[in-house]
Symmetry: C2
Subunit: 341 residues, 2 copies
C-alpha cells in the first residue's frame, strides 16, 4: 500500500480528474470515492456558494475521502484592441456575454474556497494553473489537508515540490481539457507521459501521478512502471452513467479516434485538447489571434450555452484526451474502475 493511498484511505491508485465546467457533480465524484478511488469536485468555474453546496452534498453521499480542485488565479493580460473588436463581432452571441471577473474577484473566491475546504475538513485539495501562495499551503497543511499540484514540465514539478505539495499530478500531452502550464518553457510544455514520468520521478522526492491518455489496465500498469504512484483519469469517466456529459458529448467521444483531438485556444484563450468540431475548423486560421484567457472564454460562453441547449456539438467544447479512441461503450463508475485496476 502506497503512503498517499493510506493517508487518503484509498484502495485504488486512481484519481477522477477534476473536470471543470459542469461535467463533474457530487453524483460522479461520490460514486468514485465509494469504490475506493479519489473522487474530485471541480471548483474552477463554481462560486464559493455552489462549491459549499457540492461539498455538503458530497459528504451526505459518502464518508470516503475526496478532493476539491481549485484554479490558481492568473494575472489578466491586456487584449489587442483590433483582435477584441474582431472577436466581438465574429463570435456568435458574444454581445450577450456576462461581465468578465477581475483578478481581485478571482482571489477573493479562491480564499473563500480554501476556507470551505478547511471548514468541511476536505481530505485533499489540488491546484491547477499555478502554485498557491505559501501561506495558503501552510494553512491547509496545518489543517491536515493533502495537497496536489499540477505540472506540465520538470521545472513546474520541481517548483511545486518546493512550494510544499505532497504529490504532483503530471499532465501529459495526451490529456484532455486545459493545459495547466504556468511556467514558460523553451520549447513546448507537452511531454508525452512515457518521457515525462521517469524524468519527473527522478527530479522530485514526492510521489507523482500520471494524467493523460489512460483508459484501461495497460495504461495504469505502464504509468506505475515508469515511476508514477497512481493515475488520474478524466475522459473515460465522461462515458460513465454518473457523469453530467451530455448525450451529444458522449456520442462524439464514442465516435472519436485519438487523432481526432487537438489543442485549441479558440474556446477559452488558453490551450486545451478537444475533439475537432465545427468551431475549431472554421476558426483554425485565427488560432494565433485568440484573446487572452479568460476573455475569450467569457465571450464564447453564450455561444456554448446556446449550442448545448440546441444539442449542436459543433459549438461546444468537446474536451477529450487521446484516450478517446480507446472508449468503445457507455459504462459506469464501478465497471470502469474494475477495468483500470
Amino acid at each position: 500500500m502506497k503512503e498517499w493511498m493510506n493517508i487518503l484511505s484509498l484502495t485504488k491508485p486512481v484519481i477522477q480528474a477534476p473536470m471543470a465546467g459542469g461535467l463533474v457533480t457530487p453524483r460522479l465524484a461520490a460514486a468514485v470515492s465509494r469504490e475506493g478511488a479519489l473522487g474530485s469536485l471541480a471548483s474552477g468555474y463554481l462560486s464559493p456558494q455552489v462549491l459549499e453546496k457540492q461539498i455538503a452534498e458530497m459528504q451526505a453521499l459518502t464518508s470516503r475521502s475526496f478532493q476539491v480542485n481549485v484554479f490558481v488565479p492568473e494575472s489578466r493580460e491586456t487584449p489587442d484592441e483590433k483582435a477584441l473588436e474582431k472577436w466581438k463581432t465574429s463570435i456568435p452571441l458574444a454581445e450577450q456575454a456576462p461581465p468578465m471577473t477581475t483578478e481581485e474577484q478571482d482571489w477573493e473566491d479562491f480564499y473563500e474556497k480554501i476556507k470551505l475546504i478547511i471548514k468541511y475538513k476536505v481530505k485533499a485539495c489540488s491546484f491547477t494553473f499555478g502554485m498557491p501562495p505559501a501561506a495558503t499551503v501552510r494553512e491547509l497543511k496545518d489543517n491536515g489537508c493533502f495537497l496536489i499540484g499540477t505540472a506540465t514540465s520538470i521545472e513546474e514539478a520541481v517548483a511545486l515540490e518546493e512550494r510544499g505539495m505532497d504529490m504532483i499530478a503530471l499532465q501529459g500531452s495526451e490529456a484532455g481539457g486545459h493545459r495547466g502550464t504556468f511556467l514558460p518553457a523553451k520549447g513546448e510544455s507537452s511531454l508525452g507521459l512515457i518521457a515525462f514520468i521517469p524524468q519527473a520521478a527522478d527530479a522530485v522526492n514526492v510521489p507523482v501521478i500520471a494524467a493523460g491518455g489512460i483508459f484501461d489496465r495497460r495504461g495504469v500498469q505502464a504509468a506505475e512502471i515508469l515511476g508514477a504512484q497512481g493515475v488520474q483519469v478524466g475522459t473515460a469517466f465522461l462515458m460513465c452513467a454518473e457523469s453530467e456529459a451530455s448525450r451529444i458529448y458522449k456520442r462524439e467521444l464514442l465516435a472519436a479516434q485519438g487523432t481526432d483531438t487537438r489543442l485549441t485556444s479558440l474556446f477559452s484563450g488558453k490551450p486545451a485538447r478537444g475533439i475537432v468540431n465545427e468551431w475549431m475548423k472554421q476558426k483554425q486560421s485565427e488560432e494565433a489571434d485568440t484573446l487572452p484567457y479568460p476573455l475569450q472564454n467569457t465571450l464564447t460562453k453564450p455561444m456554448r450555452q446556446n449550442a448545448a441547449a440546441q444539442q449542436d456539438s459543433g459549438h461546444i467544447s468537446l474536451w477529450a484526451g487521446q484516450s478517446a479512441g480507446g472508449l468503445h461503450a457507455a459504462t459506469d463508475v464501478k465497471t470502469l474502475l474494475d477495468q483500470l485496476c
Copy 2:
C-alpha cells in the same frame, strides 16, 4: 522469445532508429547489431551508390541482422511564389542551394535502393513517409525481407498492415526528428505512446514497436505492458561514442530538458521535433509560411552545412526526442543497450 526477434535472430527487442542526415553510419549500426539489437542504416538522404558502400561496409563489420530504412517518395507541392521569394532572400546562403531532386528521380533512387536490399539479402527494410507500392512489398517478401512500416495514427497502422507490413513502428508524439505522417487526420497525428500503443495493438494483428521518448528500462517495460513487442530508440543512441553526432550536437542534447524541444517545419518544410535554437526562435512567427518539403530542406542545406563547419549550434537541426532530458552522460552502444533491457 518473440517471433519477430526469432526471424531476425535478435536477443534484445530494440531497434536503433534510422536517423537520416549523416547521424548513423555502419559503425553505429554494426555496434548495435553485434549486441543483439537491430542496427539500422538510414538511406533517406543517401544516393544508391553511397547506400551500396554502407551495406558492404556493414556486412564486413557484422554478420548479424540489420535493416535499411527507405523514404517513400512524395508528390511535390507547388510553393507559394511570394513565400519562395521571401525565403530565398531570408535563408542565409540559400543562393548556394543545390538543385532540388524531382519526384521521378526520387522514385528511381527508391527502386535502386530496393534492388540493393534484395541483392545484398538485407534482412529487414523499413519505410518512412508513406506506403511502398504493392509490387515492391511482394518483391521484397518473395526475397525473404522483413518489412516494417511507420505509423503516426491508428488509420496509418491499419493501412500499413493492409499493404503487407510484417510489423509497424508507432511513432509517438515524443519522438525526435521528422513526423512520418502520410494520411490526413481530423486533429493532430501526434499521439503520446501511452494512448497510442494500446489503441494500435488492438487495431492491428501484426506486432507493433514503440518509438519516441524512451531512454531507459522503464520506458521499454512500459511499452511492452502497453502492447508493444519492442522499442525503437533514436536520441539516446546519438549520445553514444559510435554515433556521428557532432560535439556541439551532443553538448546541446546533454544540456536539454524534454520541454526544450518542439515541432518545427523551418528546417525542412515538414514537421520535425528538435531542440529550440536560434533559427527556430528567429523564424518562429513565419512557421506557417514554410515552403513545402523538400524545397525548404534544399534551401536551408548550405546554411546548415556552413553552421556545422563553424560549430554553430544555432543554425543546424538539433533533432531530439522528449527523452533528451533523461540523457545525463556520454555513453556507448553496449552500455546503453544494457540500460535499456
